[in-house]
């Protein structure tokens, strides 16, 4: 049994309960223990790149530091939390001014300097479990299903901080799709933005973006789209004018591992 500090984030407690529920069920099936910190705060949804913005980075630092104190890696499943936490960790490790301002504010017993290793849940599947091992645990393969992986922006960029996969030709989700017995569908818009939070400021621009993404996947013959991001799921379902089912990747994984019903 391997142990990770698990940061769910605010949305997984409310509108994206499925993303969380299936992530926990699959981890159990894969012999991984996810331990949630006793206290955590919302990551803020988007990373503030400005060097002199410190307050908006503190909640991510607290999460990173709680994993450090437990001497475990940190895993997140929401793309946005993953993006904010990895960019924060990158800046603390690479920008002395950010590190010194953050630590000056926090007054921890030992300063936090970027020591925690951060995984997205997908990276945990690839690097800790291994897709070959995962494939052996599949009881209900999704044979014949054509699945389009939707990366969007937050999983991959900026690649120097996220360091997850090739930002222009990623394959981690396609590898997962193969491991669960389905067929990946490659399409042009898989790593372009769904419109994100623009749905609140100007819904029509989110409609344009989401429609472009879903149309691109449908044209390549996909039966469904999978994503790791609650806001992508919302945009692709609600704002797209093309119909295609959209699921969290944890849901199809739970199905393949035969743990969907009891989660």
């Amino acid at each position: 049994m391997r142990t990770f500090t698990y940061y769910p984030g605010c949305t997984l407690r409310t509108k994206a309960k499925d993303l969380d529920r299936y992530a926990r069920a699959c981890a159990k099936a894969l012999d991984i223990s996810l331990e949630e910190p006793e206290e955590w705060q919302c990551c803020g949804g988007v990373y503030t790149t400005a060097h002199d913005e410190i307050a908006t980075k503190l909640s991510a630092v607290r999460t990173l530091n709680s994993a450090k104190e437990k001497n475990t890696p940190l895993v997140t499943v929401c793309s946005a939390c993953h993006n904010v936490i990895k960019q924060t960790n990158y800046d603390i490790s690479h920008d002395a001014e950010t590190a010194s301002k953050v630590n000056n504010y926090m007054q921890l017993e030992t300063p936090y300097l970027g020591e925690t290793v951060v995984y997205h849940y997908l990276e945990m599947l690839r690097d800790v479990v291994g897709f070959d091992e995962l494939a052996k645990k599949v009881t209900d393969p999704l044979t014949g299903k054509k699945i389009a992986a939707y990366y969007g922006c937050l999983l991959l960029r900026p690649s120097k901080a996220l360091a997850m996969d090739d930002p222009e030709n990623p394959h981690i989700i396609e590898d997962l799709i193969r491991a669960i017995g389905a067929e990946p569908v490659i399409y042009a818009q898989r790593n372009e933005c769904c419109g994100g939070y623009m749905t609140m400021e100007d819904r029509s621009s989110a409609v344009k973006r989401s429609t472009a993404v879903v149309t691109s996947a449908a044209e390549m013959g996909a039966d469904m789209i999978i994503t790791a991001c609650p806001l992508c799921l919302y945009n692709l379902k609600k704002n797209s004018q093309t119909e295609l089912p959209v699921y969290y990747f944890t849901e199809v994984l739970a199905e393949a591992l035969g743990v969907k019903e009891d989660s």
């Binding site: 960029r157 222009e168 623009m198 609600k238």
Partner: protein, 127 residues
Amino acid sequence: MDNKQKEQILRSSGVNVLKCMRCGKCTATCPNYEEMEYHPHEFVYMVEKGDLEKLMASQSIYRCLTCFACVERCPRGVEPAKLIEAVRLAAVHRQGENHIVPDDIPGMLDDDLPQQAIVSVFRKYTK
């Protein structure tokens, strides 16, 4: 005034505008290009020229999706989105200049809208 502000924007963004070779790739790859009056490459040029008031008054600062496509794909590593972020912060940090207020929110909600969207607009559009 403008010079001080320009310095602050350059400092907080960490962007070196002089590295830009005006190839326009950032703008070509921007998914919200059509919604912007000033495009990523214009932000870089206009900050260099000190033309800040126009940028700060433009809706373009609220139309960037923070998708980091321009950051990833600029061949010179200029990272235009970081500059757009710094210009927007300079605008919303002025007294009374939040782009969104809590009273606006209830009208924007529906049953499925994730919290992530709400916290993101607060972070992007307010101090």
